[in-house]
Every structure is written in structure tokens, then in C-alpha cells.
């Protein structure tokens, strides 16, 4: 059960960091709504951020072993 809590905490931290970084990446000047461009940018940014997170995970585990 604790293991699950760790996993949940991990996803929740990813959602928080992803939201903050993609909000900053895509929404330079906040307007009255998210238009199609904004939504596309956020969705693409979210995929890219997850890729970056996977790369750092792998590289970090390799580096931490040595």
C-alpha cells in the first residue's frame, strides 16, 4: 500500500511539473480562453516533457550506478 502511495506521489509530481513547464512554454500572454493553437501546443509539449522525463530517468539511473 505504501508502495502505491509512492507511485501516486510520483505521478502527481510529474503532473505538477509538466503543467507548470508546459503552461510557461505555451501560454506566453494569457488570454480569455485556450484556443486550438494553445491546446495543440500543450498536448505536444506534454508528450515532449514525458520524453525528457524518460531520458533523464534512464540517464540518471546509469550515472547513479557509477
Amino acid at each position: 500500500k505504501i508502495k502505491q502511495e509512492f507511485a501516486v506521489a510520483n505521478i502527481s509530481e510529474l503532473v505538477n511539473r509538466l503543467t507548470e513547464n508546459c503552461f510557461n512554454n505555451c501560454i506566453t500572454t494569457p488570454t480569455g480562453s485556450l484556443d486550438t493553437n494553445d491546446q495543440n501546443c500543450i498536448s505536444q509539449c506534454a508528450t515532449k516533457y514525458t520524453q525528457a522525463w524518460n531520458i533523464i530517468s534512464k540517464t540518471y539511473i546509469q550515472l547513479a550506478r557509477h
Binding site: I11, L14, V15, L18, T19, E20, C22, F23, N24, C26, I27, T29, P30, T31, G32, S33, L34, D38, Q39, I42, S43, A46, T47, T50
Partner: protein
């Protein structure tokens, strides 16, 4: 039990206040880029700050949905 309910409410209130500080900081940095030359927000700055929080919540909702649909 009433005491523990009261304690929980106070904790929630403190958390809410902490979020207000965090979001004010974030939206200030996004919307206010020039040194102050007057003692009140311009209408542009004011709407930027309101929109900033709303669009941040929209972005958060989109990200949560993408995670739930395992689209990432």
C-alpha cells in the same frame, strides 16, 4: 471529533493560502515585466493576471486528462 474537523479545516485553509501565494508569484512574474510607474495595475495587467490563473487551471485539467487516457 469536532476538534479534529476544526484542525482539518484550518489545515485546508493554510494550504489554500499557500496556493494563493504561489499562484500570485507565478502570475506576477508572467504578467508584470516592466518596473512599476503607477500605484495600480493597468487594465491589461489586471486581465492578464485573472486569465493567467484560469488558463493555468485549464492547462492542469488537460494534463490530468492526457495522463488518465494514458496518452503520454
Amino acid at each position: 471529533q469536532e476538534l479534529s474537523q476544526w484542525a482539518q479545516k484550518e489545515t485546508e485553509k493554510a494550504q489554500l493560502q499557500q496556493n494563493v501565494h504561489r499562484f500570485t508569484d507565478m502570475c506576477w512574474k508572467k504578467c508584470i515585466t516592466e518596473p512599476a510607474t503607477s500605484g495600480s495595475l493597468t487594465s491589461q495587467e489586471e486581465s492578464c493576471i485573472t486569465n493567467c490563473l484560469q488558463r493555468f487551471f485549464d492547462t492542469n485539467s488537460m494534463v490530468v486528462q492526457l495522463v488518465q487516457r494514458k496518452a503520454l
